[in-house]
């Protein structure tokens, strides 16, 4: 969504790069030989961790976009509560109907939601919730020109 907030900045981007994998693109498997991957979100489930490792293996540069990917942010607010207790409270005690903990097609949660850099090497971090459009544009401009640098303006939250 923050990418869409780039407004007309996205047009210049479209000329310089192809978007090969994203929630907005129809690819089902993460392709090989990706130049830059922007990762958002904390690593909350085993599936997240596995996908992240695939991303790292197939990308030249990985950037953590947003507070969830840099600090784990709001997802980490569950981290001091055991998963079993959490699921029980939400899906059983808190449910108005069909009080059952979902499992079919739902990846198991990791004990804690943690930031991507604890699982893979992250080349650059862009904090923000969300990061400002101009900060994203500046980051993409750097990365597309082969520069890996800390953002010049930092704002968490």
């Amino acid at each position: 969504m923050s990418l869409l907030d780039l407004d007309e900045g996205i047009l210049a981007l479209a000329k310089q790069a192809d978007l090969v994998y994203s929630p907005l693109v129809d690819a089902t498997e993460f392709p090989e030989g990706v130049d830059v991957t922007l990762v958002e979100g904390a690593v909350s489930s085993q599936e997240d961790a596995a996908r992240l490792r695939t991303v790292r293996a197939r990308s030249r540069v990985v950037a953590a976009l947003g507070d969830c990917a840099v600090t784990a942010n709001v997802p980490s607010m569950r981290n001091s509560i055991p998963v079993a207790r959490l699921l029980q409270r939400i899906y059983v005690e808190g449910a108005d109907c069909s009080p059952v903990i979902p499992s079919a097609g739902v990846p198991p949660l990791l004990p804690q939601a943690r930031p991507p850099h604890e699982f893979i090497k992250v080349d650059v971090h862009l904090p923000g919730c969300p990061p400002q459009p101009k900060a994203i544009l500046a980051l993409l401009d750097d990365l597309l020109h082969g520069r890996i640098a800390k953002p010049s303006e930092i704002k968490f939250g």
Binding site: A64, D67, V70, T71, A72, N73, V74, S76, M77, N79, S80, Q112, R114, P115, H117, E118, V122, H125, L126, P127, C129, K150, P151, E153, I154, K155, F156, G157
Partner: protein
């Protein structure tokens, strides 16, 4: 007649800075328009050197010392900015951010937080240390205020403002090291603190969203740290 203390001078990065005996390096630097980053310092309160953000390099050997508690001496030579100091200051902030749960996105102090501003200023865009995610309590007992230990950086400004300016001394720090915690009286809920005058100075002194007024939503808690300095001055405390 009040005797003025002896006029001396120190050198900050080679530049001669006139000051007076009895002042700290932090005071001398700031009075000369040179900034040294701090978190636990607050105008009007005695300095304790808790946060170590203000470390500077002293003398030829470049020995590290906290500027807020180190007195000036005639001929003292100080470096207040260097790559080494910048690296240590970033490390201190990263340790603070990893120690407890600092979630800016949903915090009342988002946008008005000294920890957040300092991280931005000193170039901290990620934390290299493993996040602890400790279970920390939130004290909602007090009628007007909230104490959220997740956001506390143990700067002790609340302890000092309540003890030195209000004179109530409701707050203290219990425990040591990683188990340190700000407590109200004998580690009781805030509402049970008999000495508390509900003045709210602690809330205004707190640099983060740890202490806030109830009824404030995300980003709405703006602190009036200047009010603390004024109150302290009125009380006749000397910095």
């Amino acid at each position: 007649m009040i005797q003025k203390s002896k006029a001396i001078s120190i050198r900050i990065e080679g530049e001669l800075v006139p000051t007076r005996e009895g002042k700290t390096i932090l005071q001398a630097a700031r009075e000369a328009g040179k900034n040294i980053p701090t978190l636990c310092h607050m105008d009007g309160l005695h300095d304790v050197g808790a946060c170590r953000l203000c470390i500077v390099e002293i003398g030829g050997a470049g020995r590290l010392a906290p500027a807020c508690t180190t007195p000036v001496q005639e001929g003292l030579s100080v470096v207040i900015n260097s790559p080494r100091l910048a690296a240590y200051r970033r490390m201190i902030l990263e340790l603070l951010l990893a120690e407890r749960n600092h979630i800016c996105a949903v915090c009342v102090a988002n946008g008005h937080c000294e920890l957040q501003s300092l991280a931005a200023q000193l170039g901290v865009s990620s934390v290299r240390f493993r996040y602890r995610y400790p279970a920390m309590p939130v004290d909602l007992s007090q009628e007007k205020y909230v104490m959220d230990h997740n956001r506390c950086i143990l700067c002790s400004r609340c302890v000092r403002v309540c003890a030195e300016v209000e004179g109530a001394h409701v707050w203290d720090i219990m425990g040591r090291g990683i188990h340190s915690r700000v407590i109200s009286e004998m580690d009781q809920p805030w509402a049970e603190a008999a000495s508390c005058t509900r003045c709210g100075k602690c809330v205004q002194a707190c640099p983060t969203g740890a202490m806030a007024e109830k009824g404030r939503a995300v980003e709405e808690m703006v602190k009036r740290t200047d009010a603390v300095a004024v109150a302290a001055a009125r009380k006749g405390d000397r910095t």
